[in-house]
Symmetry: C2
Subunit: 405 residues, 2 copies
C-alpha cells in the first residue's frame, strides 16, 4: 500500500465534468489499494472572478481580506470533489487549510508554510477515506486565513507529501510531463521520463511553466519524489527526483527559453568601485527585477554595464538609466527589447567538458550572434536576437541529441 | 457610545453597488460614535449557484460537504464588505464563523449555536474597528464547518447581539418595518413603531416573512432588542421588544394571513380513544406537517376530524386518508385546497374580552363563512374560503382601528 498526494490545478477541476473525471481517477487509485490525499485549486476562472469583485470594491484591497476572499475558491472545489467522490461510492472528507491545519507565517497573499498537522488526515486515511485538502491556503498563529501566492497549490501538495512522507506527489496538469523543450517550437521535443530537481529548477526559472519554482525547491529540500502527469490522458509523466549515480544521463536534459526579456546597456561608465550598485540600486528602488548582468572593463578605464529585465519593465528601466547617465558620467544608454534568452540545462555538464563550446559553435554555424552569456553549474544561457529563437532552439535540440527517435 | 449589531441579508449585499451602500451606512454610524458589528449573508443568487453545482455532483450531497460549500458564500461577502469599508476610510476586519468562533452542535445544515467567543470582536471594537462577521455559519467542537439553516444569518445577528450585550440588533431587509398587515392586500396598512416578541412570533408563524421565527425566539429568550429596517430607505423601522406595561397598546397589532393552506376532513369516524393519533400518525410518517386541527363529536357517537396542511401536501395527505378510511370505519374523506387562514394578533387580547366575537361579527357582516377556528392567548385564527381573503383582511383591518390616519 502506497501513499500518494495528488494535486489537480484549476483547469483540471474547471467544470462539473472534469471534477467527476478527477473523482473517477482518485477512486481507481484508492480501489487499487493506495492511500490518496488530493489537493485542489479553485475552479479555473473563479479566482479571476473574485479578484474582479475585489477590485470593484477597492483599487488596492487589503491583503488580509484578499486572502479571506480568494480562499473561498478552493473551499468550493474541495466540497464539490468530495460530493463527486461520494457519488461514485468513495468515502472522502474535505479540509480547508485552517482545518488541516496548515500553519503559515502571517505574510498575507504570499505566506510560507511553517508546519502541517497531520493527525486528522492520518486518521481519515487509516479509516479508508480519501482526504481532499484545499490548496493555496493556510492559517497563521492568530487564526487569520493566509494564502501562499501564485502556484501555491503545488506547494501545498509538496508540503503535504513531505509531512505525510508520501511515496510520491503527483502534479496533474494539462501537459503530460516535462519536455526537452517547448513542443510548439520544436516538434521533435521528447517527454523526459526523469529529470533531477536541480534541472527542473533551472528549467522552471528559465520559463518552463509546468511547475511552480517554489514547489520544486520545497520538493528537493524535503526529498519528495514529484511526478508531473496529465489530468486528461493516461501515462507515467515525468518523475522529478534526485540524481541517481547509475542513471544513464544525457549530457543535457532540456532547452529552455524566455521571450519576456529586454536588454539595457549603460556604456562608457568611468570604472570606479561601486558602479554596479549605483546603477542597480535605483533600478531595484523602482521594483524592477534584473535577470542577467554582464560587465566588461575596456582598455580605456571605462566600463560597459549590460543587464536584462522583464520586457514589461523595459521603458521604466531605460528612464532610470537616462536619469543616471549624467550623474555617473556615462556616455550612452542603449537597449533592445527584441531579444530572447536561450538556455541549455543538464547535470551532465558537471562531468563533461566542452558543452559550452559545442553550444556556441552550433549557434555560430547558424549565423546567430551571441549578445550575452551567463553560466551556472548545470546551465548555460545566452541572449540572442528574438528572430533567431526557433532556429537556435531547434539546432541545439538536434545537436545535443534530444530529438525523438 | 452604543453597540449595535447590523444584519444585512442577501438582497442588501446583492451587488457591488449595494455592498458599497452598506459600507456607507455602517461608516456613518461608526462616525457618529457607535460601535458596529455587521453580520452579512451571501450575495443574493450565490447560494442558489452553489446548490446547483452541488446537485450536479450528487443527487443528495452529504450535509458536511454542503456546509463546507455554502459557507463560502458569506465568506466572500465579509471580505468584500471590509474592502468597501476600507475604501471609505473605515477600519474593519472580517471573521468567518470558525474564526469568531461561533461554536455550534454538529447538526450539519441546521446547527444550533452553543456559545460565541467574543474576545476578538471586543478587541477590534475597542481598537475602533468595525467587525464584519459571516452569518449563517459556525464550527463544531471538532472544527467542522456548520451552517444554521434557512434564515440563519438573522440568528447569527441576534446571537452576537446577545453575546455582546448590544444595545440593539438591526435587521436590514427590503421592507421598512413590520406592518399591521400586507400592504399589497390592504393599502391602508400601517408600519408599526413597536411590536412585542410574542406578537412578532405569531405574525411570523402565520406567514409574515419579515423575520425568521428562530431569530425572534432567540431575541425574546435573551432579551435582545430587535429592530427591522429598510436597507434602501431611511427610517426607524419597527422595534421588537418586551411589552411595556405603560405602553398604550392597541387591542390587536396586526392581521396575518396564509394562502398556503389546504383543509382535509375524515367524517363519520367512530369516536374511540386514539382516533386522532391513528389519523395523524400516518400523516406524520409521510413527513406532512399539520397546522390547525379541529375535532367535533356528533350526537351519533361518530366524530368529524378536520385539519389543515400545506397546500403542496394536499394530494399526498388526501391519499393517506383514503387509505385509512376503511381501517378506521370512517364514512367520507373530503378536502378543500381553496382555503386560507386569517389571524388577528395582539397582546391586548389578554386584558380585553370580546375580541373574538368582534372578529366573528365583522366576518358575518360581510357574509363570510368561518370553516375552522383556532385560538391562542394572543391570536385568533379562522379558516375561510380563499375568495374572501382580501375582503376579510380589509374589513378586520378597519374594524380593529388599524387603518392609517
Amino acid at each position: 500500500m502506497a501513499l500518494y498526494v495528488y494535486k489537480f490545478g484549476g483547469t483540471s477541476v474547471g467544470t462539473v465534468e472534469r471534477i467527476k473525471a478527477v473523482a473517477d481517477k482518485v477512486k481507481k487509485a484508492r480501489d487499487a489499494g493506495d492511500q490518496i490525499v488530493v489537493v485542489v485549486s479553485a475552479m479555473s476562472g473563479e479566482t479571476n472572478r473574485l479578484v474582479a469583485l475585489a477590485k470593484d470594491m477597492q483599487t488596492q484591497p487589503t491583503e488580509r481580506e484578499m486572502d479571506v476572499l480568494l480562499s473561498t475558491g478552493e473551499q468550493v472545489t474541495i466540497a464539490l470533489l468530495c460530493m463527486a467522490l461520494h457519488n461514485v461510492g468513495c468515502d472522502a472528507s474535505s479540509y480547508t487549510g485552517s482545518q488541516v491545519k496548515i500553519l503559515t507565517d502571517s505574510s498575507h497573499t504570499k505566506a510560507r508554510i511553517r508546519e502541517i498537522e497531520d493527525a486528522k488526515i492520518r486518521a481519515d486515511l487509516d479509516a479508508g477515506k480519501v482526504v481532499v485538502v484545499a490548496g493555496f491556503q493556510g492559517v497563521d498563529e492568530e487564526g487569520n486565513i493566509t494564502t501562499l501566492g501564485r502556484g501555491g497549490s503545488d506547494t501545498t501538495g509538496v508540503a503535504l507529501a513531505a509531512a505525510l512522507k508520501a511515496d510520491e506527489c503527483h502534479i496533474y496538469t494539462d501537459v503530460d510531463g516535462v519536455y526537452t523543450t517547448d513542443p510548439r517550437v520544436v516538434p521533435k521535443a521528447r517527454r523526459l521520463d526523469k529529470i533531477t530537481f536541480e534541472e527542473m529548477l533551472e528549467m522552471a526559472s528559465l520559463g518552463s511553466k509546468v511547475l511552480q519554482i517554489r514547489s520544486v525547491e520545497f520538493a528537493g529540500k524535503y526529498n519528495v519524489a514529484l511526478r508531473v502527469l496529465s489530468s486528461f490522458a493516461e501515462g507515467n509523466g515525468t518523475l522529478i527526483t534526485y540524481e541517481e549515480s547509475e542513471m544513464e544521463r544525457a549530457l543535457i536534459s532540456g532547452i529552455a527559453f524566455n521571450r519576456d526579456e529586454a536588454k539595457l546597456t549603460l556604456a562608457g561608465v568611468p570604472d570606479l568601485p561601486g558602479v554596479a550598485s549605483k546603477i542597480l540600486g535605483p533600478i531595484a528602488a523602482e521594483n524592477i527585477e534584473v535577470d542577467m548582468i554582464v560587465q566588461n572593463v575596456g582598455a580605456n578605464g571605462a566600463t560597459d554595464f549590460t543587464f536584462t529585465v522583464n520586457r514589461n519593465d523595459y521603458v521604466r528601466a531605460k528612464n532610470v538609466l537616462e536619469a543616471l547617465r549624467t550623474e555617473l558620467g556615462a556616455q550612452i544608454v542603449s537597449g533592445d527589447d527584441s531579444i530572447v534568452k536561450v538556455s541549455i540545462v543538464g547535470v551532465g555538464m558537471r562531468s563533461h567538458a566542452g558543452i559550452a563550446s559545442t553550444m556556441f559553435k552550433v549557434l555560430a554555424d547558424e549565423g546567430i550572434n551571441i549578445q550575452m552569456i551567463s553560466t551556472s553549474e548545470i546551465k548555460i544561457s545566452v541572449v540572442i536576437a528574438e528572430k533567431y529563437l526557433e532556429l537556435a532552439v531547434r539546432a541545439l535540440h538536434t545537436a545535443f541529441g534530444l530529438d525523438q527517435a
